[in-house]
């Protein structure tokens, strides 16, 4: 790197590729060798520090479950109550930034160079980014979130000493079923629509840009090159990557925990399998074993095929619920809920001066932290399969289409469940625990046995794809951006993710321990994301000149 480059952050374009000129060689800090029959090629110190810290964390949680449990609770409430404005404001900023990129001339830049062609068809690409991005969450919250917001809105506002104690979004809609439905659906769409996908799009775009167009390794730190220069190859970069590994691991473990509890609940509903820790541990272990097979089959033979199967199954389930439920009501609801979303968006997205504290802190801030902690994982995965798309095409596809699909999904599953309560007085889903609500809703429709089974299969396959793609991503980060590191490393991470999910699920707090870890890694990563936006802007501008 020359002095001139240091001033500009990104060096002047060199021909069509506009590769950043750095002395760093991918893999230069790696150590490789052989343990028994298995080869390894890992980044020192990212692999060692993150690996050891996570092992230490697991042992601490197992050894002192009570102390760890209360620590987790404290963390959760501190981060969500003190930094809710920060999460909300940052997420709003990401959405605006993405929308601006779509309309600006920078949207013309093609990822992978001006002449690059896409590696995957739209369907394969879309299936993968969708399965990686939301998967289990859609199954877990598809019915339960609209239902929760509907119920709390319907219940209206309650306050104690000037502080609201109810969980209703905004002002609620006491006693008005129609308004409560609209508000509940708008709040759900808010959590699953533009905001999460904008978060993913930013990380994915930064990674794809700095890797495909600038020739830097595929790790989170590369996006910081315009700001830190060659220092990203030292400790500042190590820290960013280690943080990304933590966020990814805990984000994944949370989803795996959700998946395991829901699969267990579903099996209980269908076959009377007991709901307890043993079954959940067995489920996590069994599903991790399936994920291993998928890992060994690689990106094209494993994740891609599974994602496409899952898309097909999810689509079938969606169409079935749409037809078996009150079809016309759902379809008009879809449009109505979108309108409600736009109508309530300014209020829901407002980061300051909120009086619906339980909702904005307990739901929105947690969600934003969760999406952000997932962003290195989903972002890197999206980046890896997005080469050859233009920035505009990329953002439209990553931001708008998944958002619309989420709206549709929530309208169908949530809409049917709420309608069961409002017009049929069927309250089994409303009263059930979160993981079981989906199955209770399906119960009231025909062919419940088959659809519930499909539901369980979907949860399991989403679990497998998350675990598989997660291993791929963590492996890439801990191998210093090498994408051709020995396969046993991926196997190691795949097993490790399952293990972390198991110990946290068994710890005192159960799922809430997982959630606390997610939001505490999400907070520092939000800052990382904000800086990334600046780097993207700089990087794209230098591409325009190329």
């Amino acid at each position: 790197m020359t002095d001139e480059n240091a001033d500009q952050g990104i060096p002047a374009p060199e021909g069509a590729a506009d590769i950043i000129d750095t002395d760093y060689e991918i893999g230069q800090d790696n150590i490789d060798g052989q343990v028994g029959p298995f080869g390894f090629d890992i980044h020192n110190p990212v692999f060692l520090v993150s690996g050891l810290a996570i092992v230490a964390f697991v042992f601490y949680t197992l050894a002192l479950p009570e102390q760890a449990g209360s620590g987790f609770t404290w963390l959760f409430s501190t981060v969500t109550t003190s930094f809710d404005w920060f999460f909300l404001g940052a997420a709003d900023f990401f959405v605006i930034f993405c929308l601006l990129l779509i309309v600006s001339p920078l949207g013309k830049v093609r990822l992978g160079g001006a002449d690059a062609t896409p590696d995957y068809s739209y369907i394969g690409w879309f299936a993968m980014l969708f399965a990686a991005g939301m998967g289990i969450g859609l199954m877990f919250y598809g019915v339960s979130e609209p239902m929760s917001h509907f119920s709390s809105s319907f219940g209206g506002i309650a306050s104690e000493g000037g502080v609201r104690t109810d969980w209703a979004p905004l002002g609620g809609a006491e006693g008005d079923a129609e308004a409560a439905t609209r508000l509940g659906m708008a709040a759900t769409i808010f959590h699953w629509g533009l905001h999460p996908w904008a978060i993913y799009a930013i990380v994915a775009l930064a990674l794809a840009l700095f890797s495909y167009n600038k020739g830097l390794p595929l790790t989170i730190r590369s996006a910081f090159y315009p700001i830190l220069g060659d220092r990203v190859w030292g400790w500042p970069g190590h820290l960013i990557d280690i943080l990304a590994v933590f966020a990814t691991l805990f984000g994944l473990a949370t989803s795996l925990g959700f998946g395991a509890t829901q699969a267990n609940a579903g099996l209980n509903e269908l076959f009377g399998v007991p709901i307890n820790d043993t079954v959940e541990v067995l489920l996590i272990s069994g599903i991790t074993a399936i994920a291993l097979v998928s890992v060994l089959r690689g990106l094209d033979g494993g994740v891609k095929i599974l994602s496409e199967i899952n898309m097909g199954l999810a689509f079938l389930l969606l169409v079935f619920v749409l037809i078996a439920g009150p079809t016309m009501l759902i379809l008009t609801g879809f449009v109505d809920y979108l309108v409600a979303y736009v109508q309530y968006l300014p209020g829901l997205a407002n980061p300051i001066g909120r009086d619906d504290v339980n909702f904005s802190q307990g739901w929105t801030a947690f969600y934003w932290a969760w999406w952000i902690s997932w962003s290195p994982f989903v972002g890197m995965f999206i980046a890896r399969v997005s080469r050859g798309r233009s920035v505009r095409e990329f953002i439209i596809c990553v931001l708008l289409i998944p958002s619309l699909v989420c709206v549709l999904w929530m309208s169908v599953f949530g809409g049917v469940a709420i309608d069961q309560v409002v017009s049929e007085g069927y309250t089994a889903a409303q009263e059930a625990d979160l993981p079981i609500q989906l199955f209770k809703m399906l119960d009231a429709l025909p062919l419940a046995g088959i659809t519930s089974l499909i539901g369980i299969v979907l949860v399991i396959v989403f679990f497998v794809t998350s675990s598989d793609s997660g291993s791929l991503v963590i492996d890439t980060i801990t191998a210093g951006g090498k994408v051709d590191a020995p396969v046993p490393q991926r196997v190691f991470w795949c097993i490790f993710e399952g293990a972390v999910a198991i110990v946290l699920l068994l710890s005192a707090g159960g799922l809430s321990s997982l959630q606390s870890m997610v939001i505490s890694t999400g907070l520092p990563f939000t800052i990382v994301l904000l800086i990334m936006c600046f780097a993207i802007w700089k990087g794209l501008r230098s591409e325009m000149k190329a």
Binding site: I19, G27, L296, G298, V483
Partner: protein, 137 residues
Amino acid sequence: MFKKILMPVDLAHLEKLEKALSCGTELAKTFDAEIVYAGVTTALPGALSHTPAEYAEKLKAFAQEQSTASGVRCSSVSQISHDVSIDVDNALLKSVEETGADLVVMASHVPGIVDYVWPSHGGRLASHAKISVMLVR
């Protein structure tokens, strides 16, 4: 007997390939065959190259170097894969078909217990290629 010998090479680990390389060269001299050096790379920047084109250039330079040293006619072929560590065998099979090679000479390790469930790249290539495969251990 053989006209075109395909030799898979990993430019990052040339030191491990010496035996296989010289074996291939000798065979090529004996049969007056051409050697095609085959490599597999990703679209992502890696340790060896930033782009697939840069990788192809490096492989070509390697082939020319070998040709100058041994006097055997050499060329190169490279494939792009999304997931090299897993797909390398399929990519090499594709190179075999594309180049019309009639013999593969490649380095492999001595099989151990792991190879029963997880065969080496050479092992898998030998099982699936339609042409002769010589593994140099």
